[in-house]
């Protein structure tokens, strides 16, 4: 499972960077500004059989 995190804090060195984290955790701390980030689970692409 991949969870996406993006920090929107303008002063943060990580601002705008989309992190694709493989950790099964919907909450992360931004390593740039220490804010709490809420993740969104990346949806698997649907396949037609």
């Amino acid at each position: 499972m991949i969870t996406l995190f993006t920090c929107n804090e303008l002063e943060c060195p990580n601002v705008g960077i989309e992190y694709r984290m493989e950790d099964a955790n919907s909450v992360a701390m931004c390593g740039g500004c220490k804010q709490t980030l809420i993740g969104t689970i990346e949806q698997e692409a649907e396949t037609n059989e």
Partner: protein, 203 residues
Amino acid sequence: MPRKTFVAGTLATASDVNTYLMDQSVMTFATATARNTAIPTPTEGMLTFQASNDHLTIYNGTDWVPFDTTWNTYTPTLAGVTLGTGYTLSAAYAQLGKTVIVQFYFALGATSAITGDVSFSLPINHASSNRSGQAGTCAITDASPATRYPGSILLSGTPGYAFFRVGNAAGTYLTQVALSSSVPIAAWAVNDSLTATIVYQGV
């Protein structure tokens, strides 16, 4: 059940003893903010639990010091790396008082690149730069042909960063060098990876 303050003349019922004094010998709060509002002047040795992140915190007379009961995901600031697309990244830490444990993993994706001296930001700044000269171990793995290069991690800077170092066997004695676009893998490619585990004294 909120925290109850007993004052002179307050009748302590059996229910008060059972709920406030017994069940809340470790006070539980949703967040650190809620804790700080409920306990504006904590007493040294107080123990609380934060439900939002499952952390125990102990007041040491100055600060609430966390004792994590779970690992925390964090998004490290990276240097010497182009994330690109299709990569796999995992970074997590646990803080036990002033001891911080961090694990890091990055596998290159289709458009990822190693561009220089690779480092990642620490979740908690380190307390001593001298004793943090070697804070853990790392391994760099070439996916094809499968080759594993051992190395170590040094901590530097404020805010703190963890730097990868790998062995260079060119001289009489093994030395350690920084990573680059060609070290230790001549041509980094998809699924090549870096992993590290470090333990250090946090501030």
